[in-house]
Amino acid sequence: METLRKRAAILKRIRDFFEERGSLEVSTPAIVRSPGVDAHLDAIAVQLSGGPAGTPQNGWLRTSPEYHMKRLLAAGSGAIHQLAPAWRDGEKGELHEPEFTLLEWYRPGADDSALMDETEALVRDLASNFADGVLSHQGTTCQAGQGAPAFERITFREAFERHTGLDPINDSTGRLGIALRAGGVRVQRPASREQLVDLLLAFVVQPRLGEQHPCFVTDWPVDRAALARVRPGRDADQAASAARFELYACGIELCNGYFELSCAEEQRARIESENKRREDLGKAPYPVDEDFLAALSSGLPDCAGNALGIDRLLMLLNHSESLREVRSFLVDLS
């Protein structure tokens, strides 16, 4: 019960934080026509009655509220935030639940760097008010309060190199495979380059990010851009990268933010290429949300957006061992 009260107090503080900064809280549909763009996110299908001639209507539970929130931004909403559940099928583990609480917010006029500043301000505010400045999980602690040093910002390539000694873009798959084996991971079947990078990221790199202080990982490889803008390399030898960031604390990924892609044609091309990847993985493609693309065509303001996993953050603020401790109930159909 004490945890429940703390959860309520933290959610209230988050709402106040955004209200103080002139953001509008919104609610968008949980049941949607198209659940997203990501080849590796599986939505939960739902069916409504009342289609034409008595046929059922097929929809999905949203994997994030991104499409509808961007439609509001294109319609001139200004800064908006939403604190609500999202659903992802098949995601169940120590750090995953098929139903979870997502804080998603967008700020027109901000880029990824400005949104990292705001994310840092929010996490510091909550850490100081509710956790004496300390985030912790299973013995790892992380100083994140108002007095703590600035959160580190390192690029994806730097983070990868720091913890594996390898370059995720240029090193051979042989070297990546040897590093994976050295990290104690044995795969069941041969892995592609993309999968080797994912595996090293999951088992070797991520667990060591944000060990003493929270850490932003920036400048993601272009093939992991999702809905972020791609910007050219900053110097001659640097490849183009995605304006995307993730925040890590105690080895746990807390959020995923973008300097949002606003070009409708580019967006359509990415949806089509992700759908192609879904088919390659043996999954059904998702319907294309034409209303969302029309909204982008009509003009999405330059903005940055971020999605933060609230249950994970609460777990770190409450120094809990598991997500179960910070949610009153977990989905249980058994």
Binding site: H40, G90, K92, R186, Q195, D198, L201, F203, R224, N256
Partner: protein
């Protein structure tokens, strides 16, 4: 052969790995940076007792172990191992002490147990969740001492050692949870 998808790879599930039957002892789901999901499992082989690690991609499947459970009665142990009898067919089945693992210390003659069969041969045994056994050796009881939490070691008729409260005496029967090895209560026999 029945296959298990990566979401079915949970603790306690029995599968085949390297052609050997085993049981998942831990399962870890990861999904790095919007990438593909992986499930990393640790599997204890029923044949060797060794623990193997495997990481499975979200679109891969693992073969389910083709095992069946048979209700048996424990008959006796000798130099060859532990001998059981199928409660329905009256077949006699034998298992080595290594194959029994921890279960060996709870086995008493005539006790019911479930044998796990793989390709027609027994590979492991599960004792009942609760067993009642006699204490054959422990320090004398302290009359009236019912202090919470204080315990002493006691040896049971099967040779197993468990911690029991101070008021329990030699010759008394106790109920044990075989999954944890914990003392539950005294029982009258």
């Amino acid at each position: 052969m029945a296959m298990l998808s990566h979401t079915e790879l949970r603790k306690g599930v029995k599968l085949e790995i390297n052609g050997e039957p085993g049981i998942i002892v831990s399962s870890d789901f990861v999904k790095p940076g919007k990438g593909q999901a992986f499930t990393r499992i640790k599997v204890r082989s029923f044949l060797t007792g060794n623990t193997l690690e495997r990481t499975v991609k979200s679109n891969e499947k693992m073969p389910k172990a083709d095992v069946e459970e048979r209700n048996c009665q424990f008959l006796y142990r000798d130099s060859e191992g532990f001998h059981f009898m199928d409660s329905v067919s009256y077949d006699q089945l034998a298992l080595s002490e290594e194959a029994l693992g921890d279960a060996a210390k709870w086995m008493e003659e005539n006790m019911e147990a479930r044998l796990l069969m793989w390709k027609g041969r027994p590979i492991s045994v599960e004792p009942p969740n609760f067993v009642e056994l006699e204490i054959t050796n422990c320090e004398p009881g302290v009359k009236g001492d019912t202090a919470q939490g204080a315990t002493k070691p006691a040896t049971l008729s099967t040779g197993a050692t468990v911690n029991v409260p101070l008021f329990v005496n030699e010759g008394e029967w106790v109920r044990i949870d075989t999954r944890t090895g914990d003392y539950m209560e005294r029982v009258k026999r």
